[in-house]
């Protein structure tokens, strides 16, 4: 029984770590999809870009993993800002099919470019020595790096909560989410708020892409491989709800980890089946906005 419990605890812990990475990658998408009504299928591409920028910083500039995070964050945000101002501005207000085609096309371009520049092989960023190894106690073995992931991701989630709930920018963002038309009529530059949120959301995805390479290794098709997962997190959590994305990401991370242990041959079947049940019961998601 002790082995059973320790196994399930370790699985739950790993699932939480995985869920945290999913949240970081998905948090920006819940705003763009749920609030800006922009069907952005290229969102995972920014997580991939962040991962590759970090890899370049590690391989060519000698940066460590942690030092590469701000490089990846800023680099991805600059790229996201440029793409938003040049390409995405043409997608606001067009049909959803048009947005899907445009953003999917952008994803394919990202995939092709990363394949050309970095090659088709899988890459995982090296973890610093002080983050390798395991904590062991009470029969439970927990990866030091996964502990670190949970702590860092948790701090970022708290930071996101603070900015959204306790700052003037967050209040203006929430107002723009609630009622974009009234927000404009109250003097809020909604376009600017959404552009900044989009850029930061892509930056967060990049951080998730960097931190999560041990679980989601980098390869050119990353942008497509994990797109479904992030869309599931957003849909299950409720469009436009950061709290919903957080809870859904943790739930999906844990369920997917348990599911692959229970039914290894089934892949993500267990997770998909449970998500299907959740969405049948609550099509609007767990924490849909009113």
């Amino acid at each position: 029984m002790g082995d059973f419990l320790s196994t399930w605890l370790a699985l739950t812990f790993n699932g939480i770590a995985f869920g945290m990475i999913l949240f970081l990658i998905s948090s920006g998408l819940t705003v763009t999809l749920g609030v800006m009504r922009l069907v952005n299928l290229s969102h995972c591409g920014f997580a991939m870009i962040g991962g590759y920028i970090a890899m370049a910083a590690v391989d060519y500039l000698g940066f460590g993993l942690l030092a590469s995070i701000p490089v990846a964050l800023l680099g991805t945000m600059v790229i996201a800002a440029i793409i938003e101002r040049t390409l995405f501005q043409w997608t606001y207000g067009i049909t959803e099919l048009g947005q899907i085609l445009m953003t999917f096309g952008l994803t394919l371009v990202m995939v092709a470019l990363c394949n050309i520049i970095f090659g088709p092989l899988l890459h995982a960023l090296p973890v610093p020595n002080w983050l390798t190894g395991n904590f062991q106690g009470g029969g439970i073995v927990i990866s030091v790096y996964r502990c670190f992931l949970i702590v860092i991701s948790g701090l970022i989630a708290v930071g996101i909560w603070y900015v959204v709930e306790r700052t003037d920018f967050g209040a203006r963002l929430r107002a723009s989410v609630d009622n974009p038309r009234m927000a404009r009529c109250a003097g809020i530059n909604v376009r600017q708020i959404f552009s900044l949120t989009f850029t930061v959301g892509c930056g967060l995805a990049a951080v998730g892409g960097v931190l999560g390479t041990q679980m989601l290794p980098l390869e050119p098709f990353y942008a497509l491989d994990y797109l479904i997962l992030t869309l599931i997190v957003v849909a299950t959590g409720g469009l436009g709800s950061l709290k919903g994305s957080f809870c859904a990401a943790l739930l999906i991370g844990v369920i997917d980890t348990w599911g692959r242990y229970i039914l290894p041959a089934g892949g993500g079947f267990v997770m998909y089946a449970i998500v299907l049940v959740v969405l049948l019961a609550r099509p609007q998601g767990l924490f849909a906005r009113a």
Binding site: A171, R172, R174, A175, V177, N179, A183, R184, C185, A186
Partner: protein
């Protein structure tokens, strides 16, 4: 009129291909007030929305303190000096009362403290979310939020609609107080008697065009235009004294 606060000339606007208001022209000086009257569907709210940039603008000129704004985005018009309390109130449900005020804050004499002092009912609910307020409280908050933008001109779209008489009385007193403090406003209101009592000037719209433009007192003295275009039954629908 070089000193006009608001100048509207030949404005034509609507939604899609539909023209709702046409050849609208009037002006307001600093601190003046204007009641916009007419039956349902004549374009009163469309006029307000056009000033705020929320309709399809088809022609004409609009300027505030000499600056043309018909091509400016909505948030830029607020920065220019237009403040709007909409008919549907538009309170941000996931923001508290204080946050509803703070997101609209612009430099000027109106601030959260002054407005919460003006509306004690809001002060008592400052930590409540917008969707936890009563209709009257939401209307107070809508007006307060518009004032937080420190507007040169306040646009009030049916602020008394659907409210209990005691709240109507309270808000009427507030609007009268604002007028006394020199806050210029345009008031769209179905309560014709109240509207004429609050605003010095008045226009009547009929099928999107102005059919009367003059003082409120002129309409009180001769209610025939009100009977014909607003649907009043006559002098019995107007109190003997309605001047502010």
């Amino acid at each position: 009129m070089a000193d006009a606060l608001l100048q509207v000339e030949g404005v034509r606007a609507g939604y899609g291909d539909a023209v709702v208001i046409d050849d609208i022209g009037f002006s307001l000086n600093e601190g003046e007030s204007l009641a916009v009257l007419g039956r349902n569907g004549v374009g009163k709210t469309t006029l307000i929305l056009t000033l705020m940039g929320q309709t399809r603008f088809m022609g004409g000129r609009m300027s505030l303190r000499g600056k043309r704004f018909e091509r400016l985005p909505t948030n830029a018009r607020v920065a220019l000096g237009l403040g709007w309390a909409p008919q549907e109130r538009g309170i941000f449900a996931s923001l508290t009362v204080e946050e509803n005020l703070s997101v609209a804050a612009r430099p000027g004499p109106w601030n959260a403290k002054r407005l919460l002092d003006m509306f004690p009912a809001l002060a008592a609910r400052r930590g409540n979310f917008g969707n936890q307020l009563s209709g009257g409280e939401q209307q107070m908050l809508a007006i307060a939020r518009a004032l937080m933008t420190n507007p040169a001109l306040l646009l009030l779209d049916e602020p008394l609609e659907g409210l209990a008489p005691i709240i109507v009385e309270e808000l009427t007193a507030t609007i009268r107080r604002l007028a006394g403090e020199g806050v210029g406003f345009i008031l769209v209101e179905q309560h014709t008697q109240l509207a004429l009592g609050l605003a010095r000037q008045a226009i009547i719209l009929e099928r999107g065009r102005i059919v009367f433009q003059g003082t409120s007192q002129a309409l009180v003295d001769d209610p025939s235009m009100l009977v014909r275009f607003v649907g009043l039954r006559g002098e019995r629908d107007l109190a003997p004294s309605v001047s502010a």
